[in-house]
Subunit: 114 residues, 4 copies
């Protein structure tokens, strides 16, 4: 996926509705956390096996919709703050490759993040 056309479309959507007054970084960070919680809510009571098979079950469309909502707000946040996503990911990936070397992190859940 190419993010630029989406960033544009989401910006125009906000502009046409006069929502730029609400879309400051503090509010957008809150809105992003609310959207992620709607994804978490889908999984909260699911046993692990049911969660692993979520995309073949009744909640598959809900999962796709929440992922789209999260990405929408994330692109909006990056647009409002002027963050270059490629540069930000490159900096972070290089940092992670230094911190979590294969030798240190292999198979350890304490480090199963980025």
């Amino acid at each position: 996926m190419n993010t630029e056309p989406w960033t544009e479309r989401i910006r125009e959507f906000a502009q046409e509705r006069d929502w730029e007054q609400f879309h400051n970084p503090k509010n957008l960070a809150m809105a992003l956390s609310v959207e992620v919680s709607e994804l978490v809510e889908i999984f909260q009571w699911m046993p692990p096996e049911e969660a692993a098979a979520v995309m073949t079950g009744a909640r598959a469309k809900d999962v796709r919709d929440e992922v789209a909502d999260i990405l929408t707000y994330l692109l909006r946040f990056a647009d409002v703050t002027g963050i270059d996503l490629d540069a930000a990911l490159t900096a972070k990936a290089e940092d992670n490759e230094r911190r979590y070397t294969v030798a240190r992190a292999k198979g350890s859940s304490a480090k199963a993040g980025h």
Copy 2:
């Protein structure tokens, strides 16, 4: 930004470290919420003016790093669940354009979302 090469790089990073065992949809949704909270934490005590100018202040790099972490987990989640991001955004954008018509939503904070 083109997401595909990043999805690949993040997948390889997890495979090399044997982290696929931890990266199920339930755990990744939780990890995504934890990363978003690290972004929220930056803003929690900031007055609105300071939050609006965050990218010219001392926390700018932290904001970029958290956005990169969130996007990393979101791409990983979409990879593990097989979600096509373009298709998911298209479906959601069409839905939003129907629900939040300019006539109904203009300037209303009750609807300042997607």
Copy 3:
């Protein structure tokens, strides 16, 4: 408020509905985060002045309901994990009083937490 009768009532409510199978610590932590997000959602687009006056506005009952939901899951989590709330608060308060001495923390938003 005395928490013990509430802990009992919430436990019986779960037992009668056969919900103990879902109420493990991992799921309850997720549910707690979902409830807190419902509180955050009320404030996400509010200007600070409107947020400060929330209890005299149209969302006052929603705020009370979300606080009740959060406290319900927090008491349930503490019950399931056997946490003594008085002891936990005492340990944390003593720790905070050591870390955030008045001399160091006064008026600083960097430390406006506990």
Copy 4:
């Protein structure tokens, strides 16, 4: 546990440090969500069996500390907004008992909440 003395102690702690300027409802809701995420973080990569036994493992003190932090901010939020916790819990419990009757909710994860 009796909450009143804690509400007082937490209020004095904030007053002495001049933190009341930061403790408005919007900021406190954000801070509460950040604390809950620190609890979620403990569980994010844990297999269910390890999560169920968390209080006999190496993270037990961390869990107690996070629960104390969450309760601290929840009491602070209720103090600042003037919410009567007993009244809020009573209203919500009566509502839940009407909505989730034993006949409808028994054993159903779709309703394993309050």
